[in-house]
Amino acid sequence: MSDPLDALEKSISSLRRAIRDASAAGDTERAGELRAQLRRAERAWDALIDADEPAATPARLEPTAVPAAQGAQLPAREHVHRALMLLGTPAAPKLIVGVHEAFFPGELSASKLSSLRRDEERSYRSSPGARPYYLCMALAHDLLTPVRALVTISTWALEQRIIGPLSPRVDFLTGAVHIAKAVHNSAQSTADGPSPAALRLLWRFAVNIPDALPRSAPGHEGALDPQQVIDAAEAELEVHADADRAVRTEAARRARKSLGDDQQLFGAPLQGVTRLRTARA
C-alpha cells in the first residue's frame, strides 16, 4: 500500500461505493459530502499522474524567487561572511540566519545557505585563492573530516575551525559574548537601539548560561544586561578554555601535517572508522 497511486485508487473506489449506497438510500446530504471527497481524490490522482513521480511525501514548494528587500544588494555569501565574523565561531546555518536577521538587513534563508556551501567548494577547486575568502567547513578533531552542518571562513586559523568534544560549548559561549557585545554596541551607537530580533537572540543564549539573566527581572528580553551575559559566559569559558584549546591545537598541528590545502578547508575525505582507529592509536 505504499504506492500513493494505489492508495488513491483504493480511496476512489471505496468512495464510489459509498456514494452508490448513500444515493440508493436517498441520503443526498451524505452523498454530496462523499462526492466532494471523490472529486478531491480524483484531482489528487490526476496531479500524481501528471507529475509522473512517486510523491510519497507531499510535494515541497520552495518559495523560489523571494523579492529582494532593501539592503539585500550584497550577495548571500557576503551576508554569511558578515554574520560569521560577528559570531567568531563555526556555526550552523540556522544560527547564521538568526544572527543575520538580528543585526543586518536583507534576506537570507537556511536553504540558500546549503547550496552556497557547495558553490564555494566548487569555486575554490576551479581556481584556488581567486577570492579573498571562502566559506568552508569545520573539521572533526579526530578524523579531520568535515563536521555536519557547521560553516566557517577560510581566513580563520585552523584551530578556530577544529571541533573537539568541548568546542560546541566553547563556541556557544564565545558566540554569546560576541552577540552581547554587538547588542551593547547598537545600544550605544544607534538611535533605536538593538532590534527586537537581536534582543531575542541574546536572550536565547543568555537563558542557557548560568547567571546570565538578572535575578529579579521578569521574563522579558528588555531586561537583559549585555555586560552580565558577557561576564557569565566568560566565567564558564574559563572552565573549558584550556582543555578545549589543547585539543584544537593538537588537531590543527596534525591537520597541517597530513592534509593538503584544499583538505584543510573542506575536510579530509570521508573514510569511516578504519582511519579513525589509526588516528587514535
Binding site: P4, A7, L8, S11, S14, L15, A18, D21, A22, A24, A25, G26, D27, E29, R30, E33, L34, A36, Q37, R40, A41, A44, T57, P58, A59, R60, L61, P63, V66, P67, R200, W203, V207, L213, P218, G219, H220, E221
Partner: protein, 503 residues
Amino acid sequence: MSMLSALAHVQATESMQAVPLTAFRHRRLSSRPLVIIPLVMAGEAGAPLAAMVGSARRKGTLLVVAQPRNRDQRFAFAASLGRTVIDYIDSFRQGRRGGGGHSRYPDTPQILVPNHGGIKALADLGRMCRFRSTSGPHAVPDVVPEFGMWLTFLVDRAEQAGTSMLLPVTGILAEHWATGQSTLEDQNLASLMAWIAPPAGLSVEQAMADAENPDVCPPAGPATSPEFDNRDLAPAIKRFDTARTLGDLRALAAAESDLRELIAGQIQPTWRMTWEAIALLRSVPEAPRTIKRFERDCAAFTSYSDYRDSGGLPQRKRDTAIGAAQRLGWLERALAEFESDMAFDDPFVLADRRSAGEAFAGTVVEAEPSRTVTTASNRRVPRPRVTIRTQDPVRLAADTKLLSPSMPSGHKAVIVSVLPDGDATLVTVEVTGGMGRARVPARGSVPVPDQRIAYLPDPGWRPAPQFPGSDRTPWTHSATAGETGADPAAPEDAAAEEWGNED
C-alpha cells in the same frame, strides 16, 4: 461493568445491532445546545486547526487556522471561537430567579463535542487562553482569557458525573446503548452510530467498515487522519505559507479558500453525525431525576458567572494537595449519587445493579408491620421489619442503608440479615423512615406480604456541594496575581512567537 451490561454487549454482537442499556436518558439535553467540533494539528501541543461551531444543525460556522503554528493566527482563532462561545454563554445569563444569595439563572449553556478527545482539545485551548494578557507586547483581545476561564470551568465541571454543561456525544450514546464492539471502538462516533443507527441502506457491518475508513468517514477529531494530513493538508498549508511569504494576495486568498474547503470536507460529516446523534438522544425520554442534577448545574453556572462578573482570577494551573483531595471527594460522591439516581429512575439500570448484587428485588414473604423500638431518648417509634425473597445474587451486608424506587419517596430501610434459602435469598430489612410522624406507620409506607419490591443502597444524604470543581474556590486556592502563567525565567510569548515563524 455488570454481568447484565456485559450480556447486553454479547446480545448486540449476536443480533448485529445495538441493545438499549437504559429506559431513560439520564442526561439533560438543552433545547439549544452549542455543538463544537474541534480539530487540532497532529504533533503540536494545543495547536488548533479548525472548529465548526453552532447551536443549530443548519447554522454551523467553520473557523480555520491557515497556519496552526503561527501564534497570531492561533489567537485570532481563539478570539473568534471565543466570541461565539461567550455570546452563547451570555445568552443564558438572564432571567435570574429567586431572591438574595440564592437567586439563580433558570437555564445553563450546554456544549456538546463529538468525543472525549474534543473535551481534551477544549481543555488545552482553555489552558492556553486563560492566562493570556490583554495588554503589553503580546496582547490578545479581552475575550481570549475570558473564553479560556469559561472553558476551564466547563471542562472541570464535566469531570463530575451527572453534569451536563459539557458532554461528549459518544459518551452519552455509550451510556444508553451497548454495541458489539469494545469501549475503544465506541469512542469513534461513526463506529458507534453504525451500531445504533447505521446510515440508511447500509448494514451494520458495512457501516462499521466505513466508519474506520477515513476516505468515507473522516475521523471526528480532534486529530485529522494522517492520510489527509499528508496528501491534502500539508501541501495546502505550504501553498498558503508560500503565498504569504511572497505577499501574493490573490494566491493567498485562493490558498485560504482551498484550505477552508478541504477542512470543511473533513468536518462536515462529523457535524452532521453529531446532530443526528443528538436527535436520536432526544427521542429517549428524560429520566425524572435529571432535573435535580440540572438544578445543581444552574447553581454552579450562576455562581461561576457571578465570580466572573466580580473579576475573578483564572483557575490555578494545578490544584494544591488539599484542593486535589477535596475535589476527588466531590467527584466520588457525585458519581455514587448519579449511579443511585439512575438506578432509582430506571428499571434497566436497577436490573444492572441487581445482576451485580448491588441491589435486589423480590416478593415480601413476611412482615412485622407493628414492630416498635424505644430510642435512646425513651421514645417509642415504629420499626417494622419485612423479609423479601429474591433470586438476585445479593452482595449487600447487614446495616446497609437502603432506598426503594417501589415505595413512596422518603422510604428508608436498613438491612438486618441476608440468608440463603435454597436457590434464593431471604433479606430482612427494617423500615426506618418515610412512615410519617405518628406512632403507627402511615398507610402504604410499609411493604405488605406478596408485594413486589426493589431496594438499592442509599448513597447517603449530604448537602449539595456549593461550589464543586475549581469554579469558585477560595483565594488560597486560586492563581495569584504574580503567577500569570508565564515562567518567570522564560517568556512563553517569545518562545511561542519564535515557534510560530519557524518551519
